[in-house]
């Protein structure tokens, strides 16, 4: 009798535990899901907000009526941009810079990394060059010496200034060198027996083996060139030479951060056109959204390559 009761007690206690655990679990899962949804929405909101503002009525956008949905649908802002040649000029400069910069970077890196991936016995300057490269990665002269040098080179208002002035992409070089080194040596050796020279080995064997890491570098490089605004700002003599990000910095962001009193802000609000600004910002986001699915696919590989080395 006593024994049976004890058993019953134990049983009910155990069930209770199970129930409370699953209950706790359910609460946790619900809370966790909620947190995930909130975080996801917060990451989407800037995009959505810019889109809503840009397709809202000008007055509604300026009065702050737009928060979650577009108010008073209107495509005026986009129509207005169509007539803004400076915007398209900047857009063109950015496209040119991104395409040129990515091509130059990738070719330079493909070649530069190859001899550096060889052991010192095969390329004796490897170590010294590698140390110079690493030194350049962790030390720089600072903004002002860099600026004065670029000026001396005559790179103001030049597309090549926007492409080269950021310096050799050292981090990506090291990424690629490490990847090349992971490719089995036998592949190259077999080709040597067949009479291939180093160029053939590099472009016929090494490069095809490195497609994932090269894709990652191409994506990150192009995103980097597209998003860069500072060089565009200091290496341009006027707004007709700005790349797109610099254009937006000067025409949209600066207006918002100027030191103004309350009634000046009121006045500025009447003059400003938040809807138009948002439309410009949204257009600047579009290329990023186009490459985003590809970024998704490759950047995880890229990060892991950069972080995990034998």
């Amino acid at each position: 009798m006593k024994e049976g009761k004890e058993k019953e007690l134990a049983l009910s206690f155990g069930e209770d535990m199970v129930i409370s655990r699953t209950k706790g679990r359910r609460v946790f899962v619900a809370a966790n899901t909620l947190i995930m949804i909130i975080l996801s929405l917060s990451c989407l909101y800037p995009l959505w907000y810019a889109l809503c503002l840009s397709i809202s009525d000008k007055a509604a956008a300026n009065s702050g009526a737009v928060t979650v949905w577009p108010v008073g649908f209107s495509l005026d802002s986009y129509q207005q941009i169509m007539g803004d040649w400076k915007f398209f000029n900047s857009f063109g400069i950015s496209v040119q810079r991104t395409v040129l910069g990515t091509i130059v970077t990738i070719f330079v890196l493909i070649m530069f990394a190859y001899p550096l991936s060889k052991p010192t016995s095969e390329y004796k300057y490897r170590d010294i060059i590698m140390w110079i490269v690493i030194f350049c990665m962790i030390f720089s002269g600072g903004t002002i010496p860099w600026y004065i040098t670029m000026m001396k080179y005559g790179l103001i208002d030049k597309i090549w200034g926007l492409v080269l002035s950021g310096g050799m992409p050292v981090f990506n070089l090291i990424l690629l060198v490490n990847f090349y080194r992971g490719i089995p040596k036998e592949l190259g050796e077999a080709a040597v027996v067949d009479g291939a020279d180093s160029w053939t080995i590099l472009f016929r064997i090494i490069v095809p083996c490195s497609i994932p890491v090269l894709a990652t570098i191409i994506l990150f490089t192009s995103v980097g060139y597209w998003n860069e605004f500072f060089q565009g700002l200091v290496l341009s003599s006027g707004d007709t030479h700005y790349p797109l990000q610099t254009y937006i910095k000067q025409m949209v962001v600066n207006v918002q951060t100027t030191n103004l009193s309350m009634d000046q802000i009121e006045k500025l609000d009447k003059l400003s056109n938040k809807s138009l600004d948002a439309a410009k910002v949204f257009i600047a986001m579009i290329p990023m959204l186009v490459v985003y699915p590809f970024l998704q696919k490759y950047f995880v590989t890229g990060i892991m390559l950069g972080a995990v080395k034998e």
């Binding site: 966790n32 975080l39 800037p46 390329y123 030390f139 090291i174 020279d197 600047a284 990023m288 972080a307």
Partner: protein
């Protein structure tokens, strides 16, 4: 004979392969370093490097006697260190929580979305954030429900620093979590099964299995982050700040920019930049050495 001819031809190819990158490196990374000489001169652009007067460490003395410099260094340090810590803690927590999500489609969708801000530039994000936090922005709209008075949030020096830190953590947490998520998938599921059989609860198994399993990654990333102690994020602050918030938001890089390129005090700005470069260099080298000793991490 043929062998050595072949070898010298290979050498020549190697030199040619190196050349383009090497020229880029020399002219755009190394040559600008010589401009550091300005830090020890009273540099006059008209006279150039060769004829400007040398002042020894005078610029450093003057720089550190300025009241601005202490404020700027303090701001930089506070913002950068807060970011360093939170950019480990928040992504790690997020990775652990996301790892608990059972529905794979939902998990994938969340992951896809949270990377997005990382790829948008600070120019773009600043323009939107400044709107959202402006007088008539969504945040004030939301807060007015609770009866909190509206503000231009990024113009208030009390909030600016926290907003900068918070928005940076928000921008990067999804991206930073990638590496932790990868480390989490590397933990053998058998360990969890064994723990469950031994009566280990969820929290306990996180504490005893998950955290030790990714501790190496966390330590490595934290150590490598040390080099950024004076990197408060120029792009971000430059796009978000205004003279109203200089007292809490002005950092070394923005100060150097204004001093050098707006007020054209090349020597002082170079000095401040050099100070940052040297400290960062020492920290990076130290952190690499520590990472090498602790985690056997090699740069190449």
């Amino acid at each position: 004979m043929r062998q050595s001819k072949r070898k010298s031809r290979t050498m020549l190819s190697y030199h040619i392969m190196i050349s383009a990158g090497m020229l880029w490196l020399i002219f755009f990374n190394i040559v600008p370093m010589f401009g550091i000489v300005m830090a020890f001169q009273d540099f006059n652009p008209g006279l150039g490097f060769l004829h400007s007067k040398f002042v020894g460490l005078g610029n450093f003395e003057y720089l550190f006697s300025m009241s601005d410099s202490r404020r700027v260094i303090a701001n930089t340090f506070i913002i950068a260190v807060s970011k360093l810590i939170l950019n480990v803690v928040v992504p790690l927590t997020f990775a652990l929580l996301l790892n608990e999500v059972g529905n794979l489609k939902f998990k994938k969708a969340v992951q896809t979305v949270v990377y997005l801000p990382h790829f948008l530039s600070w120019v773009i994000l600043a323009s939107v954030l400044l709107q959202i936090f402006s007088l008539k922005g969504s945040i004030n709209g939301l807060l007015s429900v609770f009866g909190i008075e509206g503000k231009i949030w990024f113009s208030e020096d009390v909030y600016f620093r926290n907003l900068v830190i918070g928005s940076d953590v928000w921008k990067e947490f999804g991206f930073n979590a990638v590496i932790y998520l990868a480390a989490l998938t590397g933990i053998s599921p058998e360990l969890y099964e064994a723990a469950a059989i031994d009566g280990c609860g969820k929290l306990k198994s996180i504490w005893h299995i998950t955290l030790p399993g990714i501790a190496g990654t966390v330590v490595l990333l934290s150590v490598l982050g040390l080099g950024n102690v004076l990197n408060a994020g120029f792009d971000q602050v430059f796009n978000l700040y205004s003279p109203l918030v200089y007292s809490t938001g002005d950092i070394l890089d923005t100060w150097v920019f204004r001093m050098g390129l707006v007020d054209v005090q090349f020597s002082l700005a170079t000095t401040a930049g050099l100070f940052k470069s040297v400290i960062s260099f020492i920290l990076v080298v130290t952190s690499y050495l520590v990472a090498y000793k602790v985690a056997d991490y090699k740069v190449f």
